[in-house]
């Protein structure tokens, strides 16, 4: 299972497909090693990205917003080509692995700091989305009745719009900005977690130990917190891992169409957008952040797949 940048995430598609499909057959084991290996690859990439993000101050030779024009070096101009000493760039010039961007800032430093933004964005978005989804799903599943009905109908309505379009509208309503973009992407993903949570609650609710707890006088809230949520957490973690990839991608997409407005901070999506019209003259400025963006999403997808294979009881049969 995996995520797409398109709004409707692949997890969602496949969750619907697989839930409709009777899962009776024996899962062939042969592909498992392959998949687990890819999960390992995902983990390694992620570890790398995390270290880059964590140690950005040490890795990046310049602050991400520092314009080389401020240094008053002669001959520096915006979008200067990369200067790498071991590849023959004269050592009299300062080294810039990926060259300079449109504001004469060191592209390498910006890419490095961009990792920080993307990871923070991905995790924050998913965590808030999961929290909201858990609450809504839990209430819907546990209380049932017309409240369940209304909540799930609202979730249906959210799903009735392609996610990116809905996110664009939400950002336009709330105003441009990274926080609002994260809020929007989060809102769009709520139904996925709410549904997972609700079905978990429905399954758990009728089980003996919950009935027992209720008979013993536990109130609803504590039953929810102590019995139901722990049982539902596994599928949510799996969904969430895939969701981080989606979130990174969608926030980048919003950045690309200019809705996050986080200049001068370094964010891969907006870095691509800003140099888009220079695609034919300075392609590196477009493709380097693009490659990092793809790698990040890929890593979360690979890891999410691996987690699902390892944890999802339905598929572990």
């Amino acid at each position: 299972m995996s995520t797409t940048g398109l709004g409707l995430d692949a997890g969602q598609i496949q969750a619907q497909a697989t839930s409709a499909r009777p899962v009776t057959g024996l899962r062939a084991n042969i592909g498992r090693i392959l998949r687990q290996r890819s999960a390992l690859v995902g983990l390694i990439i992620l570890a790398l990205l995390f270290s880059i993000a964590l140690f950005a101050n040490f890795i990046a030779p310049y602050p991400e917003t520092r314009s080389m024009l401020d240094l008053h070096e002669p001959g520096v101009h915006t979008r200067d080509a990369p200067c790498i000493h071991i590849l023959g760039c004269p050592t009299t010039r300062a080294e810039h692995l990926f060259g300079l961007d449109g504001n004469a800032r060191d592209e390498f430093s910006r890419v490095v700091y961009g990792a920080r933004v993307s990871l923070v964005v991905g995790f924050t978005t998913v965590i808030w989305s999961i929290l909201a989804g858990i609450i809504i799903g839990a209430i819907a599943g546990y209380v049932g009745g017309w409240i369940d009905n209304i909540l799930m109908r609202i979730m249906d309505m959210l799903l009735a719009f392609p996610a990116l379009l809905l996110a664009i509208v939400v950002v336009t309503v709330l105003g441009k900005g990274l926080t609002n973009a994260m809020l929007a992407i989060g809102i769009v993903a709520i139904p996925i977690y709410a549904r997972v949570m609700r079905s978990s609650v429905l399954t758990v609710r009728e089980q003996d130990y919950v009935t027992a707890a209720r008979a013993l006088g536990d109130n609803s809230l504590s039953i929810l917190a102590r019995r139901v949520i722990p049982n539902a957490i596994t599928p949510i973690i799996v969904q969430g891992t895939l969701g981080v990839g989606t979130a990174v991608l969608e926030v980048a997409a919003l950045s690309f169409i200019g809705l996050t407005a986080i200049a001068p901070a370094a964010e891969w999506g907006s870095m691509i957008a800003q140099e888009r019209n220079q695609l034919f003259t300075s392609p590196l400025l477009v493709f380097i952040p693009g490659v990092f963006l793809t790698l990040t999403v890929l890593a979360f997808n690979l890891l999410g797949d691996g987690l699902r294979d390892a944890f999802d009881p339905r598929l572990a049969r």
Partner: protein
């Protein structure tokens, strides 16, 4: 089975209830529920007590103004306007009909009272007093005050002349914006929505015929996309080469690059109603604290220049007075530190991410400004706003921090730049108007003597430097690119490139030109975007026009327009033997109808795309029967804004 429909009905009803609830609760939460309905009262025929005889003048209603006045010639008409053609008929339709075309406008009600600023008891802020045809080839424009920019204004494509019958017919049908019936060298064959406009040579054109038999005007929004098409040879010319693509174009032997200094100004604004901009020393520090040369060198196309004055110097009287002071970062930092006891300033820098002629790379420039300001202890947070929000905030004076904005010329006259920003009715963006600046501007605008004007603008420009309402940054240049084989390639400072004068390469018979966007509508009297105007200019003509690649005026449908001594009466002699694309003959009544349609908000011809005819108000001060400040009728109350 019985239960299911019941369930569904229930949930459906819940939904409807929820919708109604939300829909009704919505406005209750908005600020002024009580005043909103009041603001939408339909205009009534009865005026307020003080204005009892005021006609409501909504289109289609007959006015209660005096119907007997059938002015056969405005008393103000210059006697020097000797008739050259056959006498013009008294009136085409009864004068009591406000929509009718007559030999003079306004053709109903009292004469306009310029001094009182009223007409028929209604306020009138416009500068046009009457437009009268003395014969079918002479039209006299009488103004409330002298206007040195008259020719530049009438040359603007917004005032293109339409056939009066065509106007009447298509205004009624409501499809003026979908087509054109002009007098120009190309006639419009079709508008393929979403892709291009197709023109063909008009054989009955009065001047030199179009070089190419057909012309195509298309559009691609992205500069990179336009360049691609040009490199592929599938278009022959493109507008606005991307700032980073200049080298690509000039290095390509198959292409030619035409650079042009732009008639625009980028400025860094600040509102002196807010602290710390109320401190003149702070404003003066900002004035010298920015390396404007660096902005021009790094972020603007070649051909751009650092602004020595607010108005670009190619405009007459623009650059009288002192040059803007030189950059001096150390002094600026010292001034900021002195003014703030060393604390520096924390503020925002607002901008919008919309590329404009005056600001091709908004984010890049804003980012660089931030860096530069930090060096003089002004720490700004970038505040990117949606375009509409940003302009609204600027115009209402709501931007408390610094802001990046600019101005592109509507018509090439110094009044167009200075009066809007610093005149007595100045924009609120910089806070209260500066009397030191608007006093000399008033003199400058109404004076016919060059010496007086020069003195006035010198004073105004120096007052701008002394008061620093904003910091002019640059006049951004631009370039168009063409295939090397195109003859007569153009880069117009007013962006009215005329396809009829371009020769396709290799003896081709079709010229293809790509601009930035699709026109919004083709009735340009009611359009403001350059893309619509460029489309109109291919087919429509005004009394005067602009020389190719220049902002100088030249006669077009008028062979000449002569002024009286104080520049308040202009007599235009119309060209003979001009026909419209539909075959009808060009006459004085067409001029009257074309102007009256824009001038009189109550006219049945006053229908375009938005119905606001903005440029009329912008260039001639105001409409006849103007909408009240807050509604269609002058008496409509204003909504209470939070």
């Amino acid at each position: 089975m019985v239960q299911r429909p019941a369930w569904l009905t229930r949930s459906a009803m819940t939904m409807v209830a929820a919708i109604l609830f939300v829909a009704c609760a919505g406005p209750a939460a908005t600020p002024s529920p009580a005043t909103t309905p009041a603001a939408t009262n339909p205009p009534t025929a009865s005026g307020t007590p003080g204005q009892s005889s005021v006609p409501s003048s909504t289109p289609g209603m007959s006015p209660s103004g005096s119907p007997e006045a059938s002015p056969s010639g405005s008393p103000e008409a210059s006697p020097s306007a000797a008739p050259t053609g056959t006498p013009y008929p008294d009136s085409v339709v009864a004068a009591s009909e406000p929509n009718s075309i007559t030999d003079s406008y306004p053709n109903y009600g009292d004469p306009i009272d310029c001094a009182a600023g009223t007409w028929n008891g209604r306020p009138y802020s416009g500068t046009v007093k009457s437009i009268t045809a003395t014969d079918d080839h002479t039209v006299v424009f009488t103004l409330c005050a002298g206007d040195v920019a008259f020719l530049s204004k009438v040359a603007f494509s917004v005032f293109g002349i339409n056939d009066s019958d065509y106007l009447i017919q298509h205004a009624a049908a409501g499809d003026l914006k979908d087509g054109m019936n002009g007098t120009g060298p190309y006639k419009l064959d079709q508008w393929q929505r979403g892709s291009e406009l197709d023109f063909s040579r008009f054989d009955g054109y009065w001047g030199d015929p179009a070089v190419a038999a057909t012309a195509v005007l298309k559009w691609i929004i992205e500069p990179a996309g336009r360049l691609q098409e040009l490199q592929a040879g599938t278009t022959m010319g493109i507008t606005n080469v991307g700032p980073t693509d200049f080298a690509t174009v000039s290095g390509d032997p198959n292409l030619q690059l035409l650079q042009q200094g732009g008639l625009n100004t980028l400025y860094l604004g600040m509102n002196h109603n807010f602290a710390p901009w109320d401190n003149l020393d702070v404003r003066k520090a900002i004035a010298i604290g920015i390396d404007r040369q660096r902005i021009v060198d790094q972020y603007e196309p070649p051909g751009s220049e650092v602004a020595t004055h607010f108005t670009p110097c190619s405009i007459a009287f623009a650059c009288t007075g002192d040059d803007w002071p030189d950059t001096n970062v150390e002094t600026a930092k010292q001034m900021i530190d002195d003014a703030t006891n060393g604390a520096g300033i924390d503020t925002t820098l607002s901008y919008r991410n919309v590329a404009r002629g005056y600001l091709p790379l908004p984010i890049d420039v804003a980012t660089d400004m931030k860096e530069q300001l930090a060096a003089i202890d002004v720490r700004v947070t970038l505040d990117e706003q949606l375009s509409g929000t940003f302009i609204g905030n600027a115009n209402s004076g709501a931007l408390e921090g610094l802001f990046l904005l600019g101005w592109g010329a509507d018509y090439p006259d110094v009044t167009n730049f200075l009066d809007y920003h610093f005149g007595s009715g100045c924009t609120s963006a910089f806070g209260d108007c500066y009397p030191e600046i608007f006093d000399p501007l008033k003199t400058g605008a109404s004076s016919s003597s060059d010496a007086d004007r020069e003195a006035a603008y010198t004073e105004a420009n120096n007052a701008i430097i002394a008061n620093v309402p904003m910091v002019p940054i640059s006049h951004s240049g631009f370039a168009n690119a063409y295939l090397a084989g195109v003859d007569g390639a153009q880069a117009s400072p007013l962006s009215n490139e005329l396809l009829f004068a371009m020769t396709p390469p290799d003896g081709g018979d079709q010229i293809v030109f790509t601009q930035n966007a699709e026109p919004i509508g083709l009735y340009c009297a009611d359009e403001t975007d350059g893309e619509s105007l460029r489309a109109c200019e291919q087919s429509m003509q005004s009394l005067y026009g602009f020389k190719i690649n220049s902002s100088e005026v030249e006669p077009s449908l008028a062979t000449s327009c002569d002024a009286n001594d104080d520049l308040s009466v202009w007599t235009c002699h119309l060209r003979d033997g001009v026909t419209f694309h539909d075959g009808s003959t060009f006459e004085a009544k067409d001029v009257i109808a074309s102007f009256a349609a824009q001038w009189d908000a109550a006219s049945a011809l006053h229908v375009g795309n938005t119905g606001t005819f903005e440029y009329w108000g912008g260039l001639w001060g105001g409409e006849l029967n103007p909408p009240g400040p807050c509604g269609l009728a002058n008496t409509d109350p204003c909504p209470v804004t939070p």
